[in-house]
């Protein structure tokens, strides 16, 4: 039955279904048990599956990820939650030095099917450290997949696929889109991880985005019609693997590319996309790939976040800059 589902529901259902289908799937982190997570993404999982399948941990992110490594070696498929983006950093060493590298180090004998869920990004008026966009730190680390859904149906499908993936996945949940609705029927099965999707076809220029900025780009494309621009919107869905083929195909068609993310632009993922597009579609580009993102400053206080975050205006200004190059 097709009904309006939210991103949060889609993710919660994905966790539920994954646990139902495979009793090696375990969910743990801070407050994910009784409370169901501060965003309720793990709601009712402990009630349904018991305390050995969904449990609260002590307050320690390195502990969460490091013990997930051990549980994965044992044979479990841990799905762990970092409560907020800004609290992923204590786990950085375990992620970079072990989660990403264990399989290679062991010459393929130890695979770590770990999913690390991270609610990320701003726009919800939160206090400091609750609105970070750390995705490009992880995109730079070989051995990880970095995934971020932009729609509820992708939320379900990509999370199921991430949990099933033998390779570790950093799963970035666009927290300000938890309440985004879409008419869909669960379970959804969308394109696989590694495939970018054209969300809106267009001819004037292409907007590239992932996670929370997909919706913003769709809004920008709608607004652009007033300017007589027919914008294409490509939802990357995963940063690693990066779907260069789909990206390049779109640029070859439009000749103009603008990449949008909330993260600070400097050394953000937009740089990688720009570098690859330029290398792979040099003669098709009518303008350099332009980047829209947060300024190169720390994420600001809540009342000032609107001035930091990319929005429809900043995107369209940039499209205009691209078109007038």
């Amino acid at each position: 039955m097709i009904v309006a589902i939210t991103m949060a529901q889609a993710l919660n259902t994905a966790l539920h279904d994954a646990m139902e289908d495979d009793d090696r799937v375990v969910v743990f982190g801070e407050d994910v048990g009784k409370l169901g997570g501060v965003f309720r993404i793990t709601d009712k999982l402990q009630e349904r599956f018991g305390e050995t399948r969904c449990f609260d941990t002590p307050l320690a992110e390195s502990g969460i990820v490091g013990s997930a490594v051990g549980m994965a070696i044992y044979g479990y498929k841990p799905v762990v939650e970092m409560q907020f983006d800004g609290f992923t950093y204590p786990a950085f060493e375990q992620i970079v030095s072990h989660v990403a590298k264990m399989r290679n180090r062991s010459r393929g004998t130890l695979t770590l099917p770990i999913t690390i869920r991270i609610p990320f990004g701003g726009g919800i008026g939160a206090v400091e450290h609750h609105s970070e966009s750390p995705e490009n730190f992880f995109a730079h680390v070989a051995g990880l997949k970095v995934v971020s859904p932009g729609t509820p149906s992708d939320g379900y499908s990509l999370l199921r696929e991430s949990i099933a993936s033998p390779d570790p996945v950093i799963f970035f949940e666009p927290k300000r889109r938890y309440w985004l609705k879409e008419d869909a029927e669960l379970p959804t099965q969308t394109e696989p991880i590694g495939k970018a999707v054209v969300r809106r076809e267009g001819t004037t220029a292409t907007l590239f985005a992932y996670g929370p900025m997909v919706k913003t780009c769709m809004e920008a494309a709608a607004a652009a019609e007033d300017e007589g621009w027919d914008l294409e919107v490509v939802d990357l869905r995963s940063l690693t693997p990066f779907d260069a083929a789909t990206v390049v195909e779109s640029v070859k068609k439009t000749g103009h590319a603008v990449v949008v993310h909330e993260a600070q632009v400097f050394s953000g993922f937009g740089a990688e996309l720009a570098a690859q597009v330029t290398e792979r579609a040099f003669y098709h580009l009518e303008a350099p790939v332009l980047r829209v993102g947060g300024f190169d400053i720390p994420y600001p206080a809540a009342k000032l976040e609107e001035f930091f975050l990319p929005d429809v205006d900043r995107i369209l200004d940039t499209v205009e800059r691209s078109l007038s190059f």
Partner: protein, 377 residues
């Protein structure tokens, strides 16, 4: 700085392992009925004035807290972390510090802030989101509220190391919660402080919960104070709802640090009466009975009974505190209510002393955006 000296620092005596375990019961000086029992080793050097001041700060803390919650309910703050129930722990602990001492708080220390003379209105800017903080750390000797759990413990340890190396009479107080004890940073901080005999107090408000996670799922240690053993420093434990115990116990730790004998851990056993923050729904994880149980141990009521018995509390004093509390509340509203954020261009002002050249471009971009949106209005 006077650090060029190469003579070795005096080292504190090693704590006698035999005396290391905290007592089974937390130190309590005022019992639940408000009767005072002196406890050996924790003398009370307080004058009437001090007793009244402790009361005053607790009441003010509660009133300030209430005003903050109201501001949040009125949509003036994005979120707020209440100290309700923890007044005695915070006030008693902070009262043991001297003027020159420093504090590195977490995000729930409005009571400690009050004692240290920090304007609560200024602190609320963090929760309103007008800026990421808004009080002068150097002037107040009160660090910025720290949100990443436990990280400030290292700043406290480092500051105390600095004071020690510089041979200055400064004691540093670091606040964190029961949940924070599970993180790596407080562990490293306590170890560093102990190794360098740094004058640092690790004051743990054990309010029984880390959001929804109860202490029993946070640690198997018999008490938080037991954690001090692993760093070779004393672990004190007090009834955190007893302001006199909080004071007297912390005072021992502070005096010890001031004598150059190194850091201590102080566990104040208390309870978070409110939700974790205004965004939390505690009915999901704790019972009304449990809350009732702790209500009976209210830190202010207990102390009130005592003060009344001692004849230290009269209507005039109550009225005076009430006035003061109203004044604080008014100042908080004045500071916060509809407080505008500053010029967005200020966002580029403080990141670097020497900003990179790209800041000029980015500032112009923001300026154009601001102009455009003004024009569009």
């Amino acid at each position: 700085m006077s650090t060029a000296s190469t003579e070795p620092q005096a080292t504190a005596p090693t704590v006698d392992p035999a005396t290391m375990l905290p007592p089974e019961q937390p130190v309590q000086i005022l019992d639940d009925e408000g009767n005072l029992h002196e406890v050996e080793g924790f003398p009370l050097d307080l004058k009437d004035e001090d007793f009244r001041n402790l009361y005053r700060y607790m009441v003010l803390a509660r009133r300030v807290d209430k005003q903050a919650i109201n501001l949040q309910r009125q949509g003036q703050l994005g979120v707020y972390a209440s100290l309700l129930g923890q007044e005695a722990a915070q006030v008693g602990g902070a009262y043991a510090l001297a003027d020159q001492d420093w504090v590195f708080p977490s995000y729930r220390e409005m009571g400690a802030a009050l004692v240290r003379g920090v304007d609560p209105g200024k602190i609320l800017h963090l929760f309103r989101g007008t800026w990421l903080s808004n009080h002068d750390v150097k002037e107040t000797q009160f660090g910025l509220l720290s949100i990443p759990i436990g990280t400030q413990a290292l700043h406290a340890a480092g500051f105390a190391m600095g004071a020690k190396f510089d041979r200055k009479d400064i004691v540093v107080m670091s606040y964190f919660g029961d949940g924070a004890t599970s993180e790596g940073d407080p562990h490293e901080a306590m170890n560093f402080a102990a190794v360098y005999d740094a004058p640092c107090i690790f004051f743990v408000q054990n309010n029984q919960y880390a959001i929804s996670v109860p202490l029993s799922k946070q640690t198997k240690a018999p008490t938080i104070a037991h954690k001090a053993v692993g760093y070779g420093m004393p672990g004190y434990r007090c009834d955190g709802n007893d302001v006199l115990a909080s004071y007297a116990v912390t005072r021992q730790a502070v005096d010890r640090a001031r004598r150059g004998e190194g850091p201590s851990l102080v566990e104040a056993v208390t309870y978070r009466m409110e939700a974790h923050t205004t965004a939390d729904d505690p009915t999901r994880y704790r019972t009304p009975e449990e809350i009732e149980e702790w209500k009976r141990r209210d830190p202010i009521a207990r102390f009130e009974t005592f003060l009344e018995k001692e004849g230290l509390l009269d209507d005039e004093f109550r009225a005076q505190i009430d006035e003061e509390a109203k004044g604080y509340a008014a100042r908080m509203r004045e500071e916060i209510y509809d407080a505008p954020h500053g010029d967005p261009l200020e966002l580029f002002e403080h990141v670097y002393v020497d900003p990179p050249p790209s800041y000029e471009e980015q500032r112009s971009l923001l300026r154009r955006e601001l102009d455009a949106s003004k024009a569009g209005e």
